[in-house]
């Protein structure tokens, strides 16, 4: 009975991984790698941008950035955010 | 581009200053203990080097003599390959210092004796090629 145990261990630890690895090669060819627009990373980007805007406002309140720079940077960030939101809404449809 | 040039000049300036600073300290260390030539015992004996030197080797079995009057004072023979050198050391000895220990000493050579003011024994971790180990395994159980 020992060799049943040995063979099953060999199967689990050595044969299964090889199957796991080869499996994707048998799918149909997929070429949509780069075009895959993914919703979750867009949402993450949106959150990140909002956080950056808030941090910018804080820096301005403290006095680390002058009025003109603050307004320029904030505008840039807001433009970026609206682009991302547009993409998100387009994707949802 | 003007401001860019300003910064490039500043960086270049700092680097130049630093290189001179390091070079200067390397040639004129404030403390004479800062540098030592790490050479072989054979070379030391041949050249009779008076500069501050660092030597490595093994403590010759049975050569450790501790002064009767001052426990801290000791002498021993440093063995590196075939070369042997009499050493005097008067600070507290590290725990691993014993017959056959691998040591690194720093100090000065004068008239046949090496006066060491630093003595280090190799770290206790067992690593490949440990000169103290001839056999790697114990053949009998340790008595407990």
């Amino acid at each position: 009975m020992d060799y049943i145990r040995d063979y099953s261990l060999v199967f689990i630890f050595f044969v299964l991984p090889i199957i796991f690895v080869i499996q994707p090669l048998f799918l149909n060819k997929i070429n949509d790698f780069e075009n895959h627009i993914d919703l979750s990373s867009l949402k993450r980007k949106k959150r990140l941008l909002y956080r950056q805007i808030k941090e910018l406002e804080m820096e301005f309140d403290i006095g680390n950035i002058n009025q003109k720079d603050f307004e320029t940077s904030r505008k840039e960030l807001k433009v970026e955010v609206s682009e991302v939101i547009t993409k998100i809404n387009a994707n949802k449809i | 581009m003007n401001s860019n040039k300003k910064f490039t000049i500043m960086i270049a300036g700092v680097i130049t200053v630093v290189i001179f600073w390091i070079g200067w300290v390397s040639s004129n260390p404030k403390d004479e203990k800062a540098m030592a030539s790490f050479i072989s015992v054979e070379k030391l004996l041949n050249d009779k080097m008076k500069k501050r030197t660092k030597l490595g080797g093994l403590v010759k079995d049975g050569s450790i003599i501790i002064s009767e009057t001052n426990y801290l004072d000791c002498s021993f023979v440093l063995k590196e390959g075939a070369a042997e050198l009499k050493v005097k050391y008067d600070r507290s000895r590290p725990d691993l210092f014993k017959d056959g220990a691998e040591v690194i000493i720093t100090g000065q050579y004068l008239d046949g004796t090496f006066y060491a003011d630093e003595l280090q024994t190799k770290c206790a971790s067992r690593y490949e090629g440990d000169l103290r180990d001839e056999s790697s395994y114990k053949l009998t159980e340790i008595e407990t």
């Binding site: 690895v21 780069e34 820096e59 403290i62 950035i65 720079d69 | 401001s3 590290p94 725990d95």
Partner: protein, 653 residues
Amino acid sequence: MTPIAGAVALNLAFGFSILSIICLFIFTLNEDKRLFLTGQRLSLGISFFVFLATFILWYQLIISNFDIDYVARYTSIETPFIYKISALWAGQSGSLLFWLFILSIFATITVLQNQSKHHGLMPWVIISLSIIQLFFLILTNFVTNPFMPTDADFVVANGNGLNPLLQNVTMAIHPPTLYLGYVGFSVPFAFAISALMNRDTSTLWIQSIRRWTLVAWLFLSSGIILGGWWAYQELGWGGYWAWDPVENASFMPWLTATAFLHSIIIQEKKDMLRIWNMALIILTFTLCIFGTFLTRSGVMSSVHSFTASSLGPIFLIFVFLILIVSFSLMYLRRSELRSEKRMESFTSRESGFLFNNLVFVVMCFAVFWGTLFPVISETIRGTKITVGPPFFNQINVPIGLILLALTGVGPLLAWRNTSKQSLIKNFTFPILSGLIAAIIFLFIGFKGSVVISFSLSVFVLATISTEFKRGISARTKKFKESIFKALFEMVSKNRSRYGGYIVHVGIVFMFVGFTGHAFDKEKEFSLTKGQSDHVAGYEFTLLKLSETERPNHYAWISDIRVTDNKGEYVTNLYPEKRIYFHKNPDVNRRQPHSELDIYSTLNKDIYSIFSAVDNENGVAFIKIMVNPLVRWVWIGGYILVIGTMIALWPRKD
């Protein structure tokens, strides 16, 4: 049977790593997604087999299977369980497997975490990680295999066992902590290479690796501090840093990593310093590999070193390959790396960070120069000239003080340009505090770099409190919050920034601790029962000398009473002289060891060492060191860790 399975697992991991690299590389050429999936799974497979091999080796260590050379060398039947576990990283081949093990954990996390994001970057990230895994797999498969069977004609009854000097908890966790740091920088490095390969040097790769970098930095910092703590507590030479090549090997990547950590803030906010950031992470990772190499080869002679092994040249080749390939890539992508943004003023936050990078790199070079001086001097002059702590201190103390000053100056600078009014408004209080402190210290009688160090510490603490005050008052004005609520909200909403300031406080405390060195005093003397001697205003009286036998050692215990110069009682110290393996018939296998006793206050440490005992005459040879302010180093270390954890604290969204 299982040891063979371990070796086979390592073989399979090796094969998978080659396949993974080839598979993903072909994918980058023909875009067939199936190849990406397979390549990704191959990468997970590498990790799987490495985990298997590691657990098998651990199992062999636990069951004390002395048929395996590694188990026989580093454990014995009596070795306590926890040290059988830590024996995995006690020796060369095991620790390389352990490096690989940690790398595989990180690679697995990276792959799984990014399954739905960063598709563009991932192929080259995985390729890079697989190449690093491949290197360590080559080492553990063909050069120094942990599963090597015992080379003996007889059955080995018991192994060598772990040296008692290494049997304490700190020594068990110091290497893994350092390794988590070293290995941790592989991931940011892999992302950097991927960004270069993909010609995407925007902030995407930076945002992906910010947390990784901080975690790796935390482990590296902790590992270094733990090493110093262990040296101080156990080794008995009274210090915690000796500028030993192996210590330096961990310090150099820390310097470039700290610069990197700061510098990526600028790239995220202003898209500047791209070239610096690329160069810094490449340098950091290279220094991590170099650090592992320095510990494992016999190039430098230090108390840590292993004597010459074939590992040295192989590591060196790998280091050169990393540098050549990475910097060539940087050169090829130089147009993408150049930023249109320009630095405008010397008194801007951007230039502050630029200068910060410069100082860190300079210090790294200085340490590198000192560490490799013997090799350089041997190549040029024919003699190996070693340099000791006085050399390193002479060069690095000024640089360190400049860094300390920068820590204070940086946060008070504004973006792009700090107006004159802002300069005056922000710097008046800190500079005044620093100057007043300087005057006071000079009055007390301190001189030179001690005064500078203490005054700068006051200066930096003043700037940090100014920063907290500015943030709080901005919130109380805008949101009408109470001071405490404002403080809490402010830190909570800006964890990196304020966590970072807390880390700076920790660094300042450590500098205070370092400065205490200038006042160290020591003395060696002998005492018989009832005798006393004096050091640094304290009187030490030997009350009693006793002996006892414990399970694995014999001990002489001294009872020393300490009183101060007014005669007031301070404490009792009980340093011991121990002999491990005291019953071993082979006298050379008996291991003497001094167990220190340290009386520690904020003000100073009284450090006692029982050097030797003259049993017949009842004489104890004692060494006393009075080390001021050492505690501040450890307190600073704790604060550093707390600050980093605040910075790392995950957000709910």
